[in-house]
């Protein structure tokens, strides 16, 4: 038996009443060893901030999950710790992006800027053209990690089929 999956619909503009009732942006406590802030902005095709988006970050290695809605500047912020690398892969976090105007959520991932060697041989990163690769590696910024998500355009973040 194979059932047809239920189709996706947009999260709409009012998701915060259902999805953001509790604070959920800390994958690890702030005092966790190696805890760092992962910050960024969600931007549309005109480079404007998306104020009604929500990101979910999944650390599949350590099984840690977090969720953060964007604010009036389109900004989000998580507390994360770098997971251990899986064999042959660079450490990473998986990210789902939801927003009004996105009829289905998008899938991307964050790699770590201090993992130059591992990033160079990660099979997913290595298969991307340089410009695309750069969109997936966070930038170190004032002790935090910056990861902006651009939905469209020449500098668009790489999204994965899912």
């Amino acid at each position: 038996m194979s059932l047809s999956p239920t189709p996706s619909q947009t999260v709409g503009p009012f998701f915060s009443i259902g999805l953001c009732r509790r604070p959920g942006d800390e994958l690890v406590p702030r005092d966790h060893p190696g805890a760092t802030r992962l910050v960024g902005r969600l931007l549309d095709g005109a480079g404007e901030p998306i104020v009604d988006g929500v990101l979910e970050v999944w650390d599949a290695t350590e099984r840690r999950w977090g969720r953060c809605g964007t604010d009036a500047q389109g900004s989000f912020s998580f507390v994360v710790a770098k997971p251990a690398a899986r064999p042959g892969e660079a450490p990473r976090l998986d990210v789902h992006v939801f927003a009004r105007g996105l009829l289905r959520h998008q899938l991307t991932r964050v790699y770590f800027p201090d993992e130059t060697e591992a990033n160079a041989v990660d099979p997913v990163l290595a298969a991307l053209p340089e410009a695309g690769r750069a969109t997936l590696v966070a930038e170190a910024e004032d002790g935090a990690l910056r990861f902006d998500v651009r939905l469209q355009g020449d500098r668009a973040t790489v999204f994965f089929a899912h």
Partner: protein, 243 residues
């Protein structure tokens, strides 16, 4: 309300079964897709990714009354009381137990309890419009709520959303994540709604519509609706073994 103009293209396109279960993410009739739908080709991940386990939520994610949206505010909300229930299944028809189901909706007048919602319909002091639950061993979820109203949304001239409840689900696999909307049978607004019609295959669209069910309807108390949800996993991956 701001006035919006009809655009050159139709708000709703014709059916196209070739889309199958996929929603058309750049559906032109839904204006907000224009600057937001990704416009670059998606990159394919290794097959193994689609078998990656997702987050698991336990009872600690819930409060006692989270499944009952008619409680917790000191009085009864106005509107048609309804029970919405169904099963969460994988594509093999197996129940997904312990799945976190989160819902949110407008009140019976079509107004969300959200500061950005400016629709001049009354807020209901006894209705917050959000709920959550975990599926049981049979994959079943169940909510008690009131039927949400239709509301205008400014996408085009005289645009109204059909009544709907937003659903968010986590399956066992990371790839089974789903956010969608449940609609009510026979809604006359279906024909005019670009979000609903962005699912181009009419058979797939039907999967978004709940079924009125007299068995679920509780005498002298609430109308019952059944809506099963099937979580796809993308990539044709082999599911995780039951653990």
């Amino acid at each position: 309300m701001p006035t919006t103009h009809l655009r050159d293209e139709p708000v709703v396109l014709g059916d196209d079964p070739s889309f199958g279960g996929e929603v058309q993410i750049d559906y032109p009739g839904y204006r907000s897709t224009r600057l937001r739908a990704p416009d670059r080709p998606l990159v394919t991940l290794p097959e193994s990714f689609h078998a990656l386990a997702g987050p698991v939520f336990g009872e600690d994610a819930l409060d006692e009354l989270d499944h009952d949206l008619t409680q917790g505010f000191g009085g009864e909300p106005l509107g048609e009381r309804i029970v919405v229930t169904g099963r969460v299944l994988d594509t093999d028809g197996r129940p997904i137990r312990g799945a976190l189901v989160e819902i949110w909706q407008a009140n019976s007048a079509g107004r969300y309890h959200h500061q950005v919602d400016r629709h001049p319909a009354p807020l209901d002091p006894n209705f917050g419009g959000a709920g959550r639950c975990l599926t049981d061993d049979d994959g079943r979820y169940r909510f008690v709520t009131v039927k949400p109203g239709a509301y205008p949304w400014g996408n085009h001239e005289n645009a109204w959303r059909p009544a709907h409840i937003h659903f968010s689900l986590f399956g066992r696999l990371f790839a089974e994540r789903l956010v969608t909307q449940m609609y009510f049978p026979g809604d006359p607004l279906f024909a005019y709604d670009p979000i609903f019609h962005a699912v181009r295959d009419p058979k797939a669209r039907e999967l978004l519509v709940a079924r009125f069910d007299l068995e679920t309807t509780q005498p002298e108390w609430a109308l019952g609706f059944q809506w099963d949800i099937v979580l796809g996993r993308g990539g044709g991956a082999t599911p995780l073994e039951e653990g």
